[in-house]
């Protein structure tokens, strides 16, 4: 028969082990997903996969060149629209934003960050796709930009807040105007951090599918015109995964592997950007 103290110690041990088990169980899906991506995806990634367009249903072979180029275009244009707006809003919030308005902007940005991305797709559909009369890569890019703005706003703001006030004061004491201090001193100091935030946002929109369903739509052909419907890797994975052909499933795994590799590359670059900042200081 154990005494009370031993029982309590044993229970503490048990719960400690339980939390360790939780951690192991939490990383298990990560390993399983990566294992399957490599195991099933690698076999379909070859030269044809990168340079060919999808073959007609039932015909083997083919690749996802159109989707790879499309992802680059849609994400690139989306970032060109979203990043300047997000960074600008972040600078404004951090440098000039105090009081009620800034609090509201911050709060709304955080709430928008949690808004389902499909809602943004529906929104862009009514404001861009319907007036233009057709689906287009540009509409998809706008949807992705809208998703980026609140994310980038918040990270930019936080990074700028980390810049010590003494730097601002030094610049102002030397006779810099307020805006020049903001741009030349504060933003420059915070640039690596802002880069990290931007890259994280790019990584996240690269994997987005839902907001593209009724904007960029997808396309079985190779397109580079942003006014036309365009395929992306994420749309390709969706279309092929739910389709009936084993050949499509094979391509879906390959496209998913390339997509995840792309997202992780941006993610790792994001971490590297911050690391460079800390080493410089």
């Amino acid at each position: 028969m154990m005494n009370r103290r031993d029982r309590r110690r044993l229970f503490s041990r048990l719960m400690t082990t339980a939390t360790l088990a939780a951690a192991l169980l939490a990383v298990l899906p990560l390993f399983l997903i990566f294992a399957y991506l490599v195991f099933k995806g690698a076999s379909s990634v070859n030269v044809d996969f990168f340079i060919q367009n999808p073959a007609p249903p039932g015909v083997s072979g083919g690749g996802v060149a159109n989707a790879i180029v499309g992802t680059g275009i849609v994400v690139g244009v989306g970032s060109l629209i979203g990043l300047p707006l997000g960074v600008g809003a972040g600078i404004y919030l951090a440098e000039y934003g105090s009081g009620k308005l800034a609090y509201t902007v911050r709060f709304v940005a955080d709430v928008l960050n949690g808004t389902p991305s499909i809602i943004v797709g529906v929104f862009v559909f009514t404001w861009f796709v319907r007036p233009m009369g057709h689906f287009s890569a540009l509409a998809g890019a706008v949807a992705l930009a809208i998703l980026m703005i609140p994310m980038v706003t918040r990270t930019t703001e936080e990074m700028i807040r980390l810049v010590p006030n003494s730097l601002r004061e030094a610049a102002l004491a030397l006779g810099y105007t307020r805006w020049r201090t903001s741009l030349a001193i504060v933003v420059r100091t915070a640039t690596p951090g802002i880069m990290t935030g931007a890259l994280v946002a790019v990584a996240r929109i690269t994997g987005e599918t839902a907001p593209l369903l009724f904007t960029a739509l997808g396309n079985v052909n190779f397109r580079t015109d942003v006014m036309e419907p365009m395929q992306t890797l994420s749309l390709q994975v969706y279309a092929y995964a739910v389709g009936p052909f084993p050949e499509w499933h094979r391509l879906a795994w390959g496209a998913a592997l390339v997509l995840v590799a792309l997202v992780l590359t941006f993610g790792i670059a994001a971490r590297y950007a911050t690391r460079a900042k800390y080493e410089a200081n």
Partner: protein
Amino acid sequence: MVPALFLALFLDLFVSSLPTIKEFGFEFLYSDTWDPVADVYGAAPMIFGTIVSSILALLMAVPLALGVAIFLTEFAPRWLRGPVGTLVELLAAIPSVVYGLWGIFVLIPFLRAFVVPALQGVLGWTPFFSGTFLGNSMLAAGIILAVMILPYISAVSREVLQAVPNSQREAAMALGATRWEAVWTAVLPYGRAGVTGAVVLGLGRALGETMAVTMLIGNRHGLSVSLLEPGYSMAAAIANEFAEATSRLHVAALFEIGLVLFVITVVVNAAARLLVWRVSSGSSAGSRAI
């Protein structure tokens, strides 16, 4: 600009769903008829499916995520914290559509072969595990959602627990508490608001998740309490039907579903931010989860 975007989203959804709001009123929310041929729409199955799959996901993800957060802040050796934390957060970097793909070709066959027979053997007499398992189901959607929201809940909980002052732990230990008792009686109660916020944030993610759910939930209109049967969710309905909807009411019905989903997620997220902000004053919650 950010608040303007928010207002524009809301107004757009509201104005576009006026036809069904006028036509069906509140019945839209509790009627389970969805018939594009007769132009009669009720969103109950989607609202039900969204809520059930999200709650199912929380039931699985919350204990695990809290376990991970507690392990990483309280028990893990220092050298292990960074790597394990990064691995868990990597789960948040995997695109939703890849989760869907993995769910279709790996999770569902696994469930069919091992999990469902066992569940039916033990709990088959309850209404929740009755019926035949066809693959795409509430259960599959709930499990994949649990994996997807786990990194958010654990990352935010971890930030919250790290913000608990060490004096709390020391005081509990000095009174003779074991390490676990210190966590349970001192650390967790101190961070209660923040941890609740983390859970609510996870709920917000689960409610609005689209692709993985669309690929796994089965997309069937209908109300069934059995987790083994297919269901539908609000986001999935929009994803599946929006591009094909032609009649004015059908489009408006989908917009109204979007409106309901938007309002629910805004309320849930606002609650989460307020709870988390109370603890980590003003920093954006979950910023570490990429």
